[in-house]
């Protein structure tokens, strides 16, 4: 600060004061007094307003450099608009932020929001979805599965032009249907199992509501023989039988809106992508996986196929892709993989005579289903 300022002189051309009551600019004379600790604003009618210099703030994010707007923390409404650059440089704390108000309230509501969303996604929606899954009619479930299948096919498409193809070679399809019939035996499912192969190199398989079992071409290519494919199909039929996919799809339908709400403008699309991914890499509960495994062991045993094939498929995938956890997500990311392999081996009846799940020509047809 210079001595000029200390002797009260300040050029105030163009400064206007608004008293916070009437929308009329008042011409003012500005001065710094009391050893430059006080800003003295003398209005056109002689009235004097005093602002302690340390409590004067400049409004942030003002456009243009020609003027700035000052306020005093002791008066929320009054404003001083000035083009005088010296005044601004004389303010010791012009840019200091106001202390945040209502922080406790904000934190309370933040917790409430997180709790509400958590309650919704982890408790209410699953509870409701699990109950709904029991009551949804067969046709409705089928429609839900078809819709979900469509979304997944579109989401997996790289080109963005058309959904990825379903492989429909006639002999291959026949071989698959024979396999499903063999695995089903004389069990009466709630609905027929519809099986499809998607022309995609992902090593994966999943089940959808309405009895859909979907294999990826990559899984058939990675399998060491027909029994391993049969084991995977049996596992997925196990999910279908316990309606895991239906519950899962309904949960997604409930969660999708909530996530869209949270992420706001940014990520309606990202939320959808995220949930589609969740559907494919369906992480069912440990109990659901174990139940599907047990179903598979039993179905394989009844069909005269060694239940050890399921374990071999797991081992096979772990050996080939173990370090790439993303690929066979459904099978490999599960923490208890070793247990599942051991369980499959334990399900083998040492006295039984197991045969292949399908004749060689059917296996060849299945391997070429996408050609």
């Amino acid at each position: 600060m210079t001595d000029v300022l200390a002797t009260r002189a300040m050029d105030a051309t163009g400064a206007s004061y608004f008293d916070g009551d009437v929308p009329q600019p008042r011409e003012v004379t500005l001065a710094l007094t009391q050893g430059q600790s006080l800003l003295e604003i003398t209005l056109d009618d002689g009235q004097v307003v005093e602002w302690p210099l340390t409590e004067v703030r400049a409004l942030p994010d003002i456009s243009g450099r020609a003027q700035y707007v000052l306020r005093w923390t002791g008066d929320p409404l009054a404003r001083l608009v000035s083009p005088n650059p010296f005044l601004l440089s004389a303010l010791p704390q012009a840019t200091r932020r106001a202390p945040p108000k209502g922080r406790g309230r904000l934190i309370k509501w933040a917790f409430a929001a997180v709790a509400a969303v958590a309650l919704q996604i982890f408790v209410l929606v699953p509870l409701l979805a699990d109950n709904m899954a029991k009551f949804i009619p067969v046709d409705g479930e089928k429609a839900l599965g078809e819709a979900t299948f469509g979304h997944i096919r579109e989401a997996l498409d790289d080109t963005g032009l058309s959904p990825i193809e379903v492989c429909t070679s006639e002999v291959g399809t026949t071989a698959l249907n024979k396999l499903v019939a063999k695995l089903s035996g004389d069990r009466a499912f709630r609905q027929d199992v519809t099986i499809a192969v998607l022309d995609h190199e992902m090593v994966n398989a999943f089940a959808l509501p309405g009895g859909y079992v979907v294999l990826f071409r990559g899984l058939i290519e990675a399998a060491d023989g027909p029994d391993e494919v049969a084991a995977v199909v049996a596992h997925e039929i196990g999910h279908v039988n316990s309606r895991d996919p239906t519950r899962h799809a309904l949960r997604s339908a409930g969660s999708i809106g909530v996530l869209g709400l949270l992420f706001g403008d940014f990520a309606g699309g990202a939320a959808v992508l995220f949930l589609t991914e969740r559907l494919i890499a369906a992480q069912y509960s440990q109990a659901a996986e174990t139940a599907a495994d047990e179903f598979a062991h039993e179905a394989l045993e009844d069909a005269g196929i060694s239940p050890a094939a399921l374990g071999r498929m797991f081992e096979n995938l772990q050996g080939e892709h173990g370090d790439r956890s993303g690929v066979a997500a459904h099978f490999l990311t599960h923490p208890a993989m070793g247990d599942r392999i051991r369980a499959a081996r334990a399900a083998v009846d040492p006295d039984a005579a197991y045969g292949p799940s399908m004749p060689d020509e059917d296996w060849a047809a299945l391997q070429n289903i996408c050609k």
């Binding site: 206007s16 608004f18 916070g20 009551d21 009437v22 929308p23 009329q24 600019p25 409004l59 942030p60 994010d61 003002i62 456009s63 243009g64 003027q67 707007v69 409404l77 404003r79 608009v81 945040p100 108000k101 309230r105 904000l106 509501w109 933040a110 409430a112 929001a113 509400a116 919704q120 209410l124 929606v125 409701l128 409705g140 479930e141 089928k142 429609a143 839900l144 819709a147 997996l156 790289d158 309904l250 339908a253 409930g254 809106g257 909530v258 869209g260 709400l261 706001g264 403008d265 940014f266 990520a267 309606g268 699309g269 990202a270 992508l273 589609t276 991914e277 370090d323 993303g326 690929v327």
Partner: protein, 450 residues
């Protein structure tokens, strides 16, 4: 007031530098200045946008506040800046409150609707439709509340603006007006525009002074002339091409509807039999006409309505030029896309150079679903999310720079107050203190614009 018709015609004089004629024509009128450069705004938007990406979207409440502060202070009626005093913390709080309330509605209700839709109708679209329809009243409600919040946090010359309560009244009126508009195939649209604007304006205050929307809804038809003409031309063209001199001579209109376009192009023979198919290009002009007509109506209606707004002792005069606005939209959107495309290409090239091209494609080609590579999966997901957010925000920054900024400037510079002696009688109004700020609008994605 009598001067209005001479320079406010919809197709008035071609755009000229706005400041000179105002000064020449109306020395006594209060002018609105616009201060601030496009670059300053660009950097502010870019800076705050970057912080928003870094904070995974939390900073967007600060970004919005700071951008509004900037825009408001740029608009200076009588040389004195408007002031935006909204607080980011209260916006965040409002968002939390809205999430708590809406999460149950959206989650549970959507799930029930989906269940019913699949159980009863065997398809999803009934559910989507119902869940969309259920949000519409909320949407109007949220818009009114958001406007009330913004006006309640706007000051000029130290005096607050304000909007009275009445969000549900607005919501049901809007629903009825929309129903009437849809039932009359859009003919009564100006009636809706007028009455909804009147509802809002008549509840708007500056300090102690209440604003009034005068005039009659039929006056808005002047602004609807371009879209009316475009619609008429489209209908005439359609009649000409389908019935009078059909482009597809062998196909009747009924067949066209029942078989669709696919059936039409199945056989090569029919393709050859087209009569002057180049006439179909005329539809492009019709669509351009319709688009311009929509922009013209929106802004001409704003202008006409502004000219009929008053407060005691205060009148407004707007000279907004719809063609100018249309040019801003076209140029601005084009420029924004251009810069966005260049930026995205640069990111892809840099990313490819750093990661190696194959793994880069493998990573992002599958849209994050299959992360092939040695990096953990969540890294890919987070990076994808960041890229998505960045592109989205860059678009916002560019749109602000090339569209919002010039439109705000044009609006400010074309607005004047012919009579403002009423300012002498205005005093401060009480603070409008409501908890949820614009949380509902934010949560329902209505508040994206400034």
């Amino acid at each position: 007031m009598t001067d209005r018709s001479s320079n406010a015609g919809p197709w008035g004089t071609p755009p000229t530098a706005p400041t000179t004629p105002i000064a020449a024509k109306a020395p006594g009128w209060m002018k609105v200045e616009f201060v601030g450069s496009r670059w300053a705004l660009f950097w502010l938007a870019l800076k705050t946008g970057f912080l928003t990406v870094i904070t995974l979207g939390i900073y967007r409440f600060w970004m919005k506040t700071r951008l509004r502060r900037w825009y408001w202070s740029a608009i200076r009626p009588g040389g004195h800046p408007m002031e935006y005093v909204g607080d980011p913390i209260e916006k965040l709080l409002g968002f939390f409150i809205a999430v708590v309330i809406l999460t149950f509605y959206i989650g549970i209700v959507n799930l029930l609707l989906m269940f019913v839709s699949f159980s009863v109708f065997n398809s999803s679209w009934v559910g989507y439709l119902a869940s969309f329809a259920g949000v519409i009243p909320l949407w109007f409600y949220a818009r009114y509340r958001a406007r009330r919040y913004v006006l309640g946090r706007t000051r000029w010359r130290g005096v607050r603006f304000g909007l009275e309560k009445g969000a549900w009244g607005y919501a049901w009126r809007a629903l009825v007006h929309w129903a009437i508009t849809i039932c009359t195939l859009g003919v009564l649209w100006p009636r809706m525009t007028f009455w909804l604007e009147k509802y809002r304006t008549d509840r708007t205050f500056f300090g102690s002074a209440r604003l009034t929307q005068a005039g009659h809804w039929t006056m808005l038809y002047r602004g609807a002339v371009p879209i009316g003409v475009s619609l008429a031309l489209t209908v005439v063209l359609t009649v000409w091409i389908i019935w009078l001199a059909p482009v597809f001579p062998q196909t009747t209109f009924a067949e066209l509807v029942s078989e669709g376009w696919d059936g039409l192009f199945d056989e090569d023979a029919e393709l050859q039999a087209l009569a002057d198919p180049e006439r179909l290009w005329l539809f492009v002009f019709c669509i351009l006409g319709l688009m311009y007509g929509a922009v013209h109506y929106r802004w001409a209606a704003k202008r006409i309505l502004a000219n009929y707004k008053t407060a005691p002792g205060i009148t407004f005069h707007s000279d907004v030029k719809p063609p100018r606005i249309a040019v801003i939209y076209v140029l601005g959107v084009f420029l924004s896309y251009l810069v966005l495309t260049v930026a995205i290409l640069a990111v892809i090239l840099i990313g490819a150079a750093m990661l190696g091209f194959d793994s880069f494609l493998a990573w992002f080609g599958l849209g994050g679903i299959s992360a092939v590579g040695d990096w953990p999966r969540w890294v890919a997901v987070v990076l994808m999310g960041m890229l998505y957010l960045s592109a989205f925000l860059l678009w916002g920054v560019l749109y602000n720079t090339f569209v919002t900024f010039p439109i705000m400037r044009h609006m400010a510079l074309t607005t004047r107050l012919p009579d403002y002696h009423g300012l002498d009688h205005i005093s401060q109004r009480a603070r409008d203190d409501f908890a949820e700020a614009e949380g509902f609008a934010e949560a329902l994605d209505l508040g994206a614009a400034i």
